[in-house]
Symmetry: C2
Subunit: 319 residues, 2 copies
């Protein structure tokens, strides 16, 4: 009997990635392409189908022989109804039944989930959260998203929107967030927030290595730049990053109190900051979460990197 | 065949209550007594056994004929290990296997859970959260506690500590909390916090009806007093309460984002404030939670009052 293989497709605002994945998490075929984001739903679905078929060819199978599959997409997703409700990076998308549309085109039943939930599922199944329950997965990148798993099952909530901690308001009247409110965790501790604080400091001419280097082009500052300067000893970069990570830690401690997770896995671009992120977050958990909950949790870095989305999408269909 | 009946025992800092409960939530026998809190574990367990036997006599059955039972207690409880870890109201209690001790004395297997979790379970099974999933139960009283249920099962987490939102830090450097941190939800929005803010205003001689009436004895101010004065139109009482309930709403909105619950049930003393609590909390959920999650949740008052603890304790043992 042939091994069961699963299709995972990850739709991002800039690229589409697809993989054919074994039950053990091995990627047997992989393909990707740019997302034709401005060309509307139909063109994007056609491009996704093309990428999926290419991944299948890479694995030496036809899509129709696959045992099942899943699709991940960003933005608010009603995974109960199977709809991409809207998406900041996909103009004009409104209540798109992406799994069904793509599934029909490929002749394969596909479930739909948001990308952070899929990354969390992948980390549970193949990565840093293997076998942990409750597991909370947090992604810290341009935005902040999350996923909650109990006994390896995604907790999606009443409309598929569960898992999110990015818009927890942690500072009343804090910095403006993309959502329209102020002081959300995402506005305090995402990569975007860290870069913005550093640009503001440079524009205010705060004395620092950052200002010396970027006075003429503050818009080039990214969170990675701030981290580099912090490592080199720039006090202003250190201050900005420490403040952001203290906020992140308070948010994580809130999750620890509410869920008493066995493990918190942190992924996304900023998880590569290493101790600059994990030390303050672990300190905040020890300080702000109750003793029982903080003693029983480990906070670790994600293992699967940028393929976690498609791995999780494939895992959606696995038994 | 005789109807199955269950024992529920609720240990509080000041009183012990026990009930014999049917699967439908009817209390067939009830008893209570003061908690001999200062006399140590053994005396308290003996008193609890006495109250349980009295409740059984009231129902016309012997304890040994009951189908099962549960015990609720305040404070941090490791419900996975079955231990009262400690309790602010029960001096000297440390890792007490309360369910096993009392069960041995009564000849009945008893599970142990914290009181907020049991009130949440009772509201799911018999009250305002019937059949809802995810269900989040919040109790707002002298402290703030909570419980999370998925498909009617308590989510207790890795060590039985899940469900708590009272020590979510919502205002950095906010008012000091009993836990030692600052700006916890409990320090901002509990009955204790509301009364403390009002006393501070009176001591600062803020012009208000509250100050007129309580200048000579600010210590008599309770949250219920503040609510009365707010209803009578005192602007200072209204301001204090509105600010506290805005914080409560931000906390609840955080839970809504994280869990996408179908329903939030609010119990505890302050839930009787009615619109003074529910209006600002619902407004905050609409404002701070994401659209999918805020559209799919209803925020309602608990139905079971002070018997929810023993009802939930009995329900712990029900199939």
């Amino acid at each position: 009997m042939a091994e069961s293989l699963y299709l995972g497709i990850d739709l991002g605002g800039t690229k589409i990635a697809a993989g054919v994945v074994s039950v053990g998490g091995e990627v047997r075929g992989f393909a990707r392409a740019a997302t034709p984001a401005r060309e509307g739903v139909e063109v994007v679905v056609r491009a996704m189908a093309g990428v999926a078929r290419e991944a299948a060819r890479g694995a030496g199978v036809s899509v129709k022989r696959l045992a099942g599959g899943g699709v991940g997409a960003p933005g608010p997703i009603d995974s109960v109804a199977g709809l991409v409700v809207s998406s900041p990076n996909l103009p004009g998308w409104r209540d798109v039944a992406l799994g069904r549309l793509l599934g029909r085109s490929l002749g394969l039943k596909l479930s739909l989930e948001n990308d952070a939930n899929l990354a969390g599922l992948a980390e549970y199944r193949f990565g840093a959260g293997r076998g942990c329950s409750p597991l909370y997965y947090l992604t810290v990148s341009t935005g902040i998203g999350g996923a909650l798993l109990l006994d390896g099952k995604l907790v999606v909530g009443a409309r598929g929107a569960a898992g999110e901690v990015g818009h927890l308001v942690l500072v009343p009247d804090g910095p403006l967030c993309g959502c329209g409110n102020r002081g959300c965790l995402e506005a305090l501790a995402s990569g975007t927030a860290v870069a913005r604080r550093a640009r503001e400091a440079v524009r205010r001419s705060v004395v620092s290595m950052l200002t010396e280097r970027f006075a003429a082009r503050p818009s080039r500052i990214t969170a990675a730049v701030v981290a580099d300067f912090a490592r080199q000893g720039d006090p202003e970069a250190q201050r900005i990053l420490a403040e952001a990570m203290e906020h992140l830690g308070r948010g994580v401690a809130g999750v620890v109190n509410l869920l008493n997770p066995e493990r918190i896995v942190i992924g996304g671009g900023l998880s590569s900051l290493g101790p600059l992120l994990f030390d303050p977050v672990r300190r905040a958990v020890a300080r702000y979460a109750n003793d029982l909950a903080s003693e029983s949790v480990s906070v670790v870095e994600a293992e699967l990197g940028s393929r976690s989305g498609l791995l999780g999408a494939a895992a959606l269909a696995m038994p």
